[in-house]
């Protein structure tokens, strides 16, 4: 039971990769769900996600 639950968990490395990919493509429903699950319990990745969004805004500002 626990093992099955753990099998569904994403690790931070995979989360960072998917957060970047989400800027380029629509994630699958399953990926999106697992991403949200992870972010709901991981402060580090939530912070990383906010920093990625900031990076995008900063690049737009840099070029205008």
């Amino acid at each position: 039971m626990i093992r099955r639950a753990l099998g569904h968990l994403l690790m931070c490395k995979e989360v960072s990769r998917l957060l970047s990919q989400a800027e380029e493509r629509r994630l699958t429903w399953w990926q999106g769900w697992r991403l949200r699950m992870h972010l709901s319990v991981c402060d580090k990745c939530t912070r990383f996600a906010a920093q990625l969004r900031f990076l995008r805004r900063a690049m737009r500002r840099w070029s205008s």
Binding site: M11, E24, R25, F54, M59, W62
Partner: protein, 193 residues
């Protein structure tokens, strides 16, 4: 009147060159592209004044850069320059950021209020520094996406790379930039707060 406008435009030459050079990594080509941009700005459809002059010029420059990249891609000799992309794809420099089990090795730091940085000239100098540090092709692809705002499939078509390669390159660019900004800007800010 016309000469006043020419002078106003000329003020932005340095800035345009900086973008073109970061994008093309070729000083002569960057000069050419900026020259084309200024000529087009002087003789073209005219500045409507709805955006700032700098934004308008940047818009023209983006088109000129895309044209230059397209031309470069068509030259047989230039294919080699993007051949390096393969080499850049092989760099596995992110393992250090994560533990073997996929957890953060050094988690992202608290950036405080990053929005405040957007109003600071010095922040964008650090940004330039960090962009310069990226491998050339990685920087080029990242700029096509984030500065010139091309769609992913356009970039893949232009550079003849797969979507998967594009994701890897953009991921790498974002990770490297994030870390560079943290070390060279936000770390200091954190200490001074």
């Amino acid at each position: 009147m016309a000469t006043d406008f020419a002078r106003e435009i000329e003020v932005h030459r340095g800035y345009l060159l900086r973008i073109a050079h970061l994008q093309l990594r070729d000083r002569d080509l960057a000069e050419d592209v900026v020259q084309d941009t200024l000529v087009a700005a002087l003789g073209g459809s005219g500045f409507a004044g709805k955006s700032s002059l700098k934004t308008w010029l940047t818009g023209i420059l983006k088109h000129k850069i895309v044209d230059a990249i397209r031309r470069k891609q068509r030259e047989p000799a230039a294919v080699a320059s993007f051949g390096d992309l393969e080499a850049e794809l092989d760099i596995e420099d992110f393992d250090a950021l994560f533990k073997a089990n996929g957890a953060w090795e050094s988690p992202p730091a608290d950036w405080g209020d990053p929005e405040a940085a957007l109003g600071r000239r010095e922040f964008f100098d650090v940004m330039d520094f960090c962009l310069e540090k990226l491998p050339p092709n990685t920087a080029r692809v990242f700029m096509m996406r984030e500065v010139m705002e091309l769609e992913s499939d356009e970039i893949c078509t232009e550079l003849a790379i797969t979507a998967n390669n594009l994701w890897v390159i953009l991921y790498r660019a974002r990770m490297a930039l994030r870390e560079c900004l943290e070390q060279n800007w936000f770390a200091d800010k954190g200490r001074s707060r």
